[in-house]
Structure formats: structure tokens, C-alpha cells
């Protein structure tokens, strides 16, 4: 009963916070609701026995990405989103598409169940420590993708600096 109750709370909170995030006119408020949303998602990861990912979720999403958003919102002084003419006015069509997508996904995953196929059971992970297990897999089987990630992070960094420096050269 208790797990269901907690899951219910977190599911409702995540969906509600997501709605709050996307409906705010004030972008700073929106970003702060999103912060709360990410913290709830991190808690959800704890249920799934992924404590390292939960902490990384907070450090990366809350500590880096959202701060970047907040910086930009403040520096560009985008406090209120102003109204502007739109290319396509009708939003009903997009809503229909979204509802259709939701229906499709829900129908397809409604009965989803998987068999535990791997060797990483909860007891095993608890015994070894999630960080260690994840690190072992990451650095043994997925070294190349991990190194690629470094490249994936490096290129945008260079690109961001180039884009932001452009004005100064003139």
C-alpha cells in the first residue's frame, strides 16, 4: 500500500508540476516550478533503486541546466512573455495530435511487463552500491560511447563560446 501511495503522490506531483511549468507566463516562475519537478523526478529515481542517477539528476539538471535557463531569462529580461502574431493560430489540431499520441503510447504500454533478464537485481545493486555498478558497466562495456559523450559536450561548448563571442569581434 505504501509504495502505491508514494508513487501516486509523485506521479500526480510530477504531472501537476509539469502543467504548472508550462503554463506560467513569468518565465522565472516557470523555471522554479521546473526545479521542483526535477527534484520529484529525482525522488522517483530513488524508488527505482538508481541513487546515483537521482543525484546526477539534481546536479546536472537542477545545478547546471536550469541555472543556465535562469541566467538567460534574467539577462535577457524576459520576465513577461509578450503576445505576438502567430503563424498558425489553431491549437486544437496540435492538441488532437498530442492526445492521439498519448492514447497510442498508453495503449501500447498499458499491459507492458518485462521479465528480469539481466543480472543486476536489487540485492546485487544494494550490495555493490549503485555508483560502483553503474561505473563498472559504463567504463567496461560503454567506454567508447562515454568518450563520445565528452566530444558531444565539447563541441557545443566551443559552439556556444563562438556564438556568444560573435558580437565582440566587430
Amino acid at each position: 500500500m505504501l509504495p502505491e501511495f508514494f508513487f501516486g503522490y509523485f506521479a500526480c506531483a510530477i504531472l501537476g508540476l509539469a502543467m504548472l511549468t508550462v503554463t506560467r507566463k513569468n518565465l522565472v516562475h516557470s523555471v522554479l516550478w521546473m526545479l521542483l519537478l526535477f527534484l520529484h523526478i529525482a525522488c522517483l529515481y530513488l524508488f527505482l533503486n538508481a541513487e546515483f542517477l537521482a543525484v546526477i539528476q539534481v546536479i546536472v539538471y537542477a545545478g547546471a541546466i536550469l541555472v543556465l535557463f535562469l541566467f538567460l531569462v534574467m539577462l535577457l529580461n524576459l520576465r513577461e512573455e509578450h503576445e505576438a502574431r502567430r503563424f498558425v493560430k489553431a491549437w486544437q489540431g496540435r492538441l488532437a495530435v498530442c492526445i492521439l499520441l498519448l492514447t497510442v503510447i498508453v495503449i501500447s504500454v498499458y499491459k507492458a511487463a518485462v521479465q528480469p533478464t539481466g543480472g543486476y537485481s536489487i540485492t546485487f545493486i544494494n550490495e555493490m552500491g549503485h555508483t560502483k555498478v553503474l561505473g563498472t558497466v559504463l567504463f567496461n562495456q560503454y567506454v567508447l560511447p562515454f568518450l563520445m559523450t565528452a566530444l558531444v559536450l565539447f563541441v557545443p561548448m566551443v559552439a556556444a563560446i563562438v556564438l556568444a563571442m560573435k558580437e565582440r569581434k566587430r
Binding site: A18, V22, L53, I65, L72, P156, M157
Partner: protein, 100 residues
Amino acid sequence: MIPLSWYLMLGAGLFVIGMFTFLVRRNIIMMLISLELMLNAVNIMLIATSHYMQDMRGQILAFFVMAGAAAGVAIGLAILIAAFRNRESANMDEFDLLKG
């Protein structure tokens, strides 16, 4: 034990919220935020599936998704700054000239 499908449906809900926002809101920052929501929805699904399959690959993938999200946001926001310098606006619909 919570069934896996609950997690998947939660992820689906979050994904659809993000997607709808991406389609409807025209503010670039809002669109980037909804992009993050969608990535998070995918991450929830990946980690949940990984947990129920007792396989670490899903979590590794989620790890990479986070790295990708960080990279995406960095480049997206840099483009926004460059665009904002030209148009003084963060509204997608106002970027309607080929010369920028």
C-alpha cells in the same frame, strides 16, 4: 510492487505535456524547457524499464541522455543569445526573415 506500466504511463503523460507545449508556446526558452520535459519523460521510462529488467543498459542510456540534454541546452541558449541580439525577441514567430 508497482507495475512497470504505471511508470511508462507517467512518462507518456510527461512526454505529451512537453510535446504539446513545444507545439503551442512560441517562446524559445519555453520550447527548450518543454524539450527538457520530454527528455526527462524518456529518462523516467528508461530507468524504470532498466530497473524492472534488472539490466543496467537503460540507466547507462539515461546517463547519456542527460549529457545530451546538457549539450543541447548549451547550444540552444547560445543560439538564442545570438538571435536575440538581432531581433530583440525570444518569440519563434518573429524570426521570419531569412537574413535573420
